[in-house]
Structures are given as structure tokens and as C-alpha cells.
């Protein structure tokens, strides 16, 4: 993951933090294209349960992933206060449905601690480490495992 992480010249990382079901998560800002308010999505047939549907981003059709469902935290009941983080990894662009975006932070890579064992297994699979900030725990998401690479469009 760190290879694709945006590193500033001083070796610092900029991250976007957000909350899902009250828990703090973060991803590298380099992957974030933009952040949008929630709009109803179009249901996709035969989709995995964590895919809420399709959204229109200025003419591009994107699938929206319910991160809460993906991380095993239960289905989100989206309301207009929810936001969609548009994320690009490789050639694909997807939207992540989250409750709220909290902050943009600058962290030193060595601040990242390994994931403690207490986390639920499904959540842990998608986390590459945690940052402690202001007594809050930010779980750094591993985008590659959330959006498995090399699977190609089927």
C-alpha cells in the first residue's frame, strides 16, 4: 500500500479521515478525487450486498460501495447527510459511502501502528494499520483489498 501512498517531500502523508458507524477510518488523500453529498443510487442486479448501486458523476457511471457493509459493520441507512468519497485506484473509479468526512490530516508514516488483534476479522482484513490522533483511532484502509486489483472487469 505504502508504494502508492502519496508522500510529501518531507516524507509526510496526508490522509482523509471519516467515520463509519461511529468508528474512525482514513485513506490516503492521493486516491481521493472528490467528496460528494449522497444521492440515491440505481440498483444493480446480481451485485454483492456491499454494492449499493450506480451513481452519475458528471456523466461517468460509478458503482458505490457501502464501506460499512464491506467492513462487516452492517448496512448503512443512507440519508442526505451521508457522503460519497470518490476514489480512484488504478483505472477504476468507485464511490465509498461513509457517514461523514472529518478531517484532512498530515501524519508521519512511522506513526502508523499495526492493527491490534482485537478488531473483527473482516474489518482487520481491510486495514493496513492504525493512527492514534486526539485519543481517536483512525483505521487506515487498504484500498487494494477493498478493491482487489487484477480482477479486471469481468
Amino acid at each position: 500500500m505504502s508504494d502508492v501512498m502519496e508522500q510529501t517531500s518531507t516524507g509526510l502523508r496526508e490522509i482523509v479521515s471519516f467515520t463509519i458507524k461511529g468508528q474512525g477510518f482514513c485513506i490516503d488523500i492521493g486516491h481521493v478525487l472528490e467528496i460528494r453529498g449522497w444521492t440515491p443510487t440505481t440498483k444493480l442486479p446480481h451485485a454483492p450486498d456491499y454494492v449499493t448501486g450506480l451513481m452519475n458523476l458528471r456523466g461517468t457511471v460509478l458503482p458505490v460501495i457501502d464501506l460499512s457493509m464491506r467492513l462487516g459493520l452492517g448496512r448503512s441507512e443512507p440519508n442526505p447527510r451521508h457522503v460519497i468519497i470518490i476514489v480512484k485506484l488504478g483505472d477504476s473509479t468507485v464511490g465509498f459511502l461513509v457517514e461523514a468526512v472529518s478531517d484532512i490530516l498530515t501524519v508521519r508514516p512511522e506513526e502508523m501502528k499495526p492493527t491490534p488483534d482485537v478488531a473483527s476479522n473482516q474489518t482487520k482484513d481491510f486495514i493496513e494499520g492504525v493512527f492514534a490522533r486526539d485519543e481517536q483511532l483512525l483505521r487506515a484502509l487498504d484500498l487494494k483489498s477493498i478493491m482487489p486489483a487484477g480482477q479486471g472487469a469481468l
Binding site: 440505481t42 446480481h46 456491499y50 452519475n56 458503482p63 477504476s92 473509479t93 468507485v94 482487489p148 479486471g152
Partner: protein, 735 residues
């Protein structure tokens, strides 16, 4: 340089197309000089540029080919039945060489040995006549030549022997020409380089160059951008005057050029030894005056004696690059066009959103805003059409490529076949054409390899030994229909059935209609060939062909009559970008059903429906029963509705005549929608062809109606209903 190379290969593609066109009209009997000239020019241009790019194999072969064409042009050969196959073979080989050069592939050296020999022989039978250039001699130039202070130039042409010019050292070598070449300022201003021209000349035959430095002023007076140096070149070539002029085609206005044929080789031979001896190319760098080279100075007057001075000097200047001006086109990168197409797509969507917003806000339908809106709508529609037209291309190139495949396959299989093409001018989206190459190639190989019988079998069946494969294209109701017809044996249905049973594709007791048996050919893992030939039995079956065509939004169907032949029809959308669809609603979601397969819309309450078994229902139509498929259920949006009476039924009919009634909750209107692929950011979804954006900005899915109608084994319909668990695994989620 890379850009130039790219441009060269693009140009080659066009030239090969011209060549192919010309050959076809020649065969049809259009033996006029314009046709022959266009062929000649095409080959000639390829040769000229190939030389400039050091594509020796290509330059060399086009040269040999050109010789034959030259004779044809002069009427010394005629395009009869003996010559045409040779010309075709040469054209095919030329295409092969261009492709090889483009792909950086090593050319198989023996691939065309026989062909080259044939061409050489053909050229030589009549060839002697071409060498008779003007015997008209004049010695006026002797003095001018004598005034030269020739020097040797190292053109970086180390190995002249590598260019095969036939029997170069033999006494009957190709004729010699003396070329005087004096660049003007503009030549350098426009980026031309004499060295490249000299290299191109070298591709025609052994060349010797001497520079005339008499015009070069004292060093302090030299203006850096003035051409002070002119050259005298002697070239031994079979290319003829036209061949040489061709090299100078692009600079003919930018220089003073004089091409003078020398005395016939036998005479000139006497003058050669001293010249050859004194001019080892590695002697000195450019600019060094070689005073010791009296040999050339002595030889020059002799050779120049053949110069018909005045007329020949005037001629090159008057000669314009032919065949170029006629093409009133520009080359645009596809990427730019695609960007334009995308933007126009967005514009159309925004326009629709604006229109919807206006009607939602209850604005007057006749006010000035509405009028302007109407105008905008019309303009954006026209804009969209025009942009789509940019991407459209005639299928001619594709068909020509297929003609080549036919010739290749007939050679390999020993079957006699000819190809007839119809509707080459039909225009289709460029991407569609490109992506049709592979499936069509495969189908044509199949048609000849499996479809056509051996000549003796054909004769026994009372048919002509020469089989015919017909490839046709036509526009039909908003789609392009490409048909591949052969007059072969047709599908051996009992055998197909037997094979399908042995491969477990169908059960022994299954009762299949003829059409269903024919469609088994498309089933994965099916191959009718008893022995695997290296042509079609590559493990790539017709199922791959079908999926490739489906990926283009197309359909392929098959019809066959035993003993008479088989017809494959490919039905394709005109463009990949827009589609005419009926907007319907299912379980609260809007779905677009393409109108291409839509035959009729029926209100379920007024239709005659019957139950079949537990919950299957059929619709009773005038001419039979049609199964009803609940769209909402088969897309997994909801369970089956028990009562269809509130629903509408869309009667769908595929190209193969299979019918299905799709039950939907509500039918809205019919409109044109912009197709947005799902594969880029997601993946293909069973039952869904693509997505689109509606006027309110929401996304609607476009149903792939074929998947709800096909009933054959292993088809998409099966996977639509059997889905569910296989997609739950997140690794399926293609990103």
C-alpha cells in the same frame, strides 16, 4: 521520428486500401490507365517512404512489384487471368511486409521467394523494353559537368551490396542515371534532409554521390541557412525515371532537379571502372575536397552525353506529387474524436436535464425559453449525429482484409473459393470495425475450412468446383447487418446433434428444432471438425466469436440449408454510443429496453395469458405461445409477482426469431439514450448490456434482451436465473 513512422504506417494502410481497391476493379475489367496508375502510385509511395525508413525488405519488394505494375501501366502486360493472381499475391505480401515492419516482426525470408521469382520473371519477359529510354543524346551538358569539382560524400551507406538490385555487377546491369540535385532554401526550411533522400535512392540501387562545393563562399561569408551545396548522383536502378522522381516527390518544388539517363549499360560500362575504383564511400567525410578523384570527373562527361538536356530539366519541376491532392482529408487522433464524442454525450444529457427541469418548474411550453430550448435540442442532436459520423468508416478495409484471408485459407486448404463482397461502402463505427476483425476472420476460416466441400465433392453434388463466400454489409432499421454466406454443404444437423450429445451439451432425448441445433455451434466447447486442423481448430470456438460480437452490442445468428450452404448474420449497432430505447419501470427502477428487438407492447390485462405448470405463464399470440419473463424477478429486484394483470408486456423478438414477453410494471416513453459502459469501473452484469443517464441525472440500466430470450444450453439466460451465490464473493468484484 516515431511520429513520422506512425504517419508512414497510417499512410501505408490507406495506400494498401487503394491498392486493394484498384486490384478489385482491375479484376472486374476496369483496365483503364487511371486504375493502373492508382495501383502503381500506391506501391510506389510505399516504396519511397519505406526506403526513407530503412525498411529494406519492404522497399525491395515494392520495387519488384512496381516493375511489374510499370509494365502493366505501359500496356506491355495485361491484367488477364494469368496476371491477376500474381498481382493479388504480391498485394497480400506487401500488406504482410507492412504489418511485419510495423510490428517489428522479423520477415520470414523464404515466405515469398517463389512470388518474387514470379514477379521478376514477369517483369523480365517484357522488361527489356522499359530500358529503352530516350536514345536522343546531346552533349550540351558536358561543359557544365566538367566544371564540377566533385568530392566524395560519405552518406553512411556502408553496404551497398545489401540492396538486391538483381545482377548488379553483370554486364547487363540496370540502367544508370545521373541526377543533379540542387536544394533551394525552402527544402531545408521545411525540414527535408538530403541524406534521407539519398538513402531512399540507395534503396533503388547502387548510388554514388558527389557534392559540388563551388558555390560555397569563404568561411566568414557563409550564411548558416543557405544551401550552397548541390550534388551529382549516379544511380543504377531498374526503377526507371518515375521511380527516381518518386523519391524526390516531396521536394520537387524545393529543389532544382535534373534526371538524365546514361547511355545503355553496355556502353556506360566502359566508364564505370575508374569511377567505381575512385569512390570508395568511406573515403572522407563531407566537405573534404577530394582532388584525387579525377575518375569521376572523367566519367561524368561520358555519362552525361545521354542527356536530353532541356526537356528533362523542365519536366521534374512541373511534376507535382500525384494522387495526394485528391484526398481532402485530415488525420485526427482517435483519442481526440473520442473526447469530442464524450463531451457531446454529456451535452445531450445536460440538455435533457435542463429540459426536464424546465418542465418541472412549470414554465410555459411556448415562451421564448422553450423556443430556445427547442433550438438547443435540435442543435445538440445534429451535433451528436455529426460527431458520430466522424467515427463512422466504410467497411471496405475490413472486407479487403477478409478477401486476403480467403486467399490465404484457400492456399492452405487446397479448396477453391472466391470471395464476393457487397455493400463495402456501408459505414460503421471505427471501433466496431476494428473489433470485428478477429471474429470475422475466424468465421471466414470456418466457412472455408468446414463449410465448403472439397472441389471433387462439390462437382459430385452438381455444384461449381469454385466455392463462393459472400460477405455483405447493409444498414437495416438502425443497425448494420453483416452477412457471411457460403454455398457449401450446410450444417450436418444429425452430426451436430450427435456431437452435442457426446459432449454432454444436450441430453439424448432432447427434442431440438433445427434452429436450436444450429445454435449449438455457438455453445462453449463445441467444435464440429472431426480432425483439428491448424486453421480453425485452435480451441477458439464459435462461442468466442459470439461473445466478441455480443460485447459490441451485436448478435450473431445462423441459418443453414443442407447441401446449399450456411448464412451467418451479424447484427450490430451503428454506433457504440447511442441507442433507441423504451423506458420502463420495474420494482421502482427505470430500465431501458432497446427498441431494436422490441416488436409490440401489450397491456397484460388485455392479453390472453395462460398458466403453464406451477407458475410459468405464457402469452397467447396470433401465431403461437410466447413465454413470459418477469423482468423484475430475473434481475433479482424482487420475487415473482403473482398477478400480472397490472403489468405491461413487451414482446421481444431476437434475430433468430425467438420470442419472449417481458413483464414490466410500467412503460414510459421511447427515447434515444447515450450508452455508458459498466466495465470500466465495474464489470459486466448478467441481463444488462450497459447503463445510461436519464434526464433527471439518474442512471438507468439498459437491458440485454437477448439474454432473456435465449434458451440454449449454457447461455446467459441460464446464468441470469442461476446467479445469486456466484456474485457474493467479493473477489468477483472487478476493479
Amino acid at each position: 521520428m516515431t511520429d513520422l513512422r506512425t504517419a508512414f504506417f497510417e499512410e501505408c494502410e490507406e495506400l494498401l486500401e487503394t491498392l486493394s481497391d484498384g486490384l478489385a476493379s482491375l479484376e472486374e475489367g476496369a483496365d483503364d490507365s487511371e486504375t493502373v496508375n492508382s495501383i502503381f502510385r500506391a506501391v510506389h509511395s510505399i516504396k519511397g517512404s519505406a526506403g526513407a525508413f530503412h525498411l529494406n525488405a519492404l522497399a525491395e519488394f515494392s520495387h519488384i512489384f512496381e516493375n511489374v505494375l510499370d509494365l502493366l501501366r505501359e500496356g506491355k502486360l495485361s491484367a488477364d487471368e494469368d496476371l491477376m493472381p500474381l498481382l493479388y499475391a504480391a498485394g497480400d505480401h506487401l500488406s504482410y511486409l507492412v504489418e511485419a515492419a510495423n510490428g517489428g516482426v522479423e520477415v520470414e525470408p523464404d515466405r515469398a521467394a517463389a512470388l518474387v521469382a514470379d514477379l521478376r520473371r514477369t517483369a523480365n519477359v517484357e522488361g527489356s523494353a522499359t530500358e529503352e529510354e530516350d536514345p536522343d543524346t546531346s552533349a550540351e551538358d558536358v561543359a557544365a559537368i566538367g566544371a564540377f569539382q566533385p568530392i566524395n560524400l560519405d552518406l553512411g551507406l556502408p553496404d551497398l551490396g545489401s540492396i538486391d538490385t538483381g545482377e548488379a555487377p553483370a554486364p547487363t546491369g540496370p540502367p544508370r542515371y545521373t541526377i543533379r540535385f540542387a536544394p533551394k532554401d525552402e527544402l531545408f526550411e521545411t525540414g527535408h534532409d538530403p541524406v534521407l533522400i539519398f538513402r531512399a535512392l540507395r534503396a533503388l540501387g547502387p548510388v554514388e554521390a558527389t557534392a559540388d562545393l563551388t558555390e560555397v563562399p569563404a568561411f566568414s561569408e557563409i550564411e548558416w541557412d543557405r544551401p550552397y551545396i548541390s550534388w551529382t548522383l549516379t544511380l543504377q536502378t531498374e526503377a526507371g525515371r518515375d521511380g527516381i522522381e518518386g523519391v524526390f516527390d516531396f521536394v520537387s518544388d524545393l529543389c532544382d532537379l535534373e534526371i538524365v539517363p546514361d547511355l545503355p549499360p553496355s556502353t556506360a560500362q566502359a566508364a564505370e571502372p575508374p569511377a567505381g575504383g575512385g569512390e570508395t564511400p568511406d573515403e572522407d567525410g563531407p566537405g573534404n575536397v577530394d582532388t584525387g578523384d579525377a575518375g569521376t570527373a572523367a566519367a561524368a562527361p561520358t555519362t552525361a552525353a545521354a542527356a536530353p538536356s532541356a526537356p528533362s530539366a523542365a519536366k521534374p519541376a512541373a511534376k507535382k506529387p500525384e494522387g495526394k491532392a485528391a484526398r481532402d482529408t485530415i488525420r485526427v487522433e482517435l483519442e481526440r474524436v473520442d473526447r469530442l464524442v464524450n463531451i457531446v454525450g454529456e451535452l445531450v444529457i445536460s440538455e435533457a436535464m435542463l429540459r426536464q427541469a424546465m418542465s418541472d418548474s412549470a414554465m410555459s411550453a411556448h415562451g421564448p425559453a422553450a423556443n430556445a430550448m427547442g433550438q438547443l435540442r435540435q442543435l445538440s442532436g445534429e451535433l451528436q449525429e455529426s460527431v458520430m459520423a466522424i467515427r463512422a468508416q466504410p467497411v471496405r478495409g475490413l472486407f479487403q482484409r477478409m478477401s486476403r484471408i480467403v486467399r490465404e485459407v484457400t492456399r492452405e486448404t487446397g479448396k477453391n473459393a472466391r470471395i464476393v463482397t457487397e455493400g463495402e461502402a456501408t459505414e460503421v463505427d471505427k471501433t466496431v470495425i476494428e473489433r470485428l476483425v478477429d471474429p470475422l476472420t475466424h468465421m471466414i476460416r470456418n466457412a472455408i475450412d468446414h463449410g465448403l466441400e472439397k472441389p471433387e465433392q462439390r462437382e459430385a453434388a452438381g455444384k461449381k468446383a469454385l466455392g463462393t463466400v459472400t460477405l455483405s454489409a447493409a444498414h437495416r432499421s438502425g443497425r448494420v447487418i453483416i452477412e457471411l454466406r457460403d454455398d457449401g454443404a450446410g450444417i450436418n444437423r444429425p452430426k451436430v446433434r450427435e456431437l452435442a450429445i457426446s459432449k454432454g451439451l444436450i441430453a439424448a432425448g432432447d427434442d431440438l428444432s433445427d434452429a436450436e441445433i444450429d445454435n449449438l455451434l455457438f455453445a462453449p466447447g463445441f467444435s464440429t471438425s472431426e480432425k483439428v486442423s491448424n486453421l480453425s481448430g485452435r480451441g477458439v470456438g464459435m462461442d468466442v466469436v459470439r461473445s466478441e460480437i455480443q460485447a459490441l452490442g451485436g448478435r450473431v445468428s445462423i441459418a443453414s440449408e443442407w447441401g446449399k450452404g450456411t448464412v451467418f448474420s451479424i447484427s450490430l449497432p451503428l454506433t457504440l454510443a447511442v441507442l433507441e430505447g423504451m423506458i420502463v419501470e420495474v420494482a421502482g427502477e427505470k430500465i431501458v429496453v432497446p427498441t431494436t428487438t422490441l416488436r409490440e407492447t401489450v397491456r397484460a390485462s388485455e392479453a390472453a395469458m395462460h398458466c403453464l405448470g406451477d407458475s410459468e405463464r405464457v402469452l397467447s399470440m396470433r401465431d403461437g405461445l410466447v413465454p413470459i419473463v418477469d423482468l423484475g424477478e430475473s434481475l433479482g429486484f424482487r420475487g415473482r409477482v403473482s398477478d400480472f394483470s397490472d403489468q405491461s408486456l413487451l414482446l421481444i423478438e431476437t434475430d433468430t426469431g425467438q420470442r419472449t414477453a417481458l413483464a414490466v410494471d410500467r412503460v414510459y416513453d421511447q427515447r434515444e439514450v447515450v450508452i455508458k459502459g459498466l466495465e470500466q469501473n465495474y464489470r459486466q452484469v448478467p441481463g444488462i448490456a450497459a447503463a445510461t443517464i436519464l434526464g433527471d441525472g439518474r442512471i438507468a440500466l439498459i437491458a440485454d434482451t437477448d439474454q432473456f430470450t435465449s434458451t440454449g444450453p449454457g447461455t446467459a439466460a441460464a446464468s441470469v436465473s442461476a446467479s445469486g451465490d456466484i456474485f457474493d464473493d467479493f473477489s468477483d468484484f472487478g476493479v
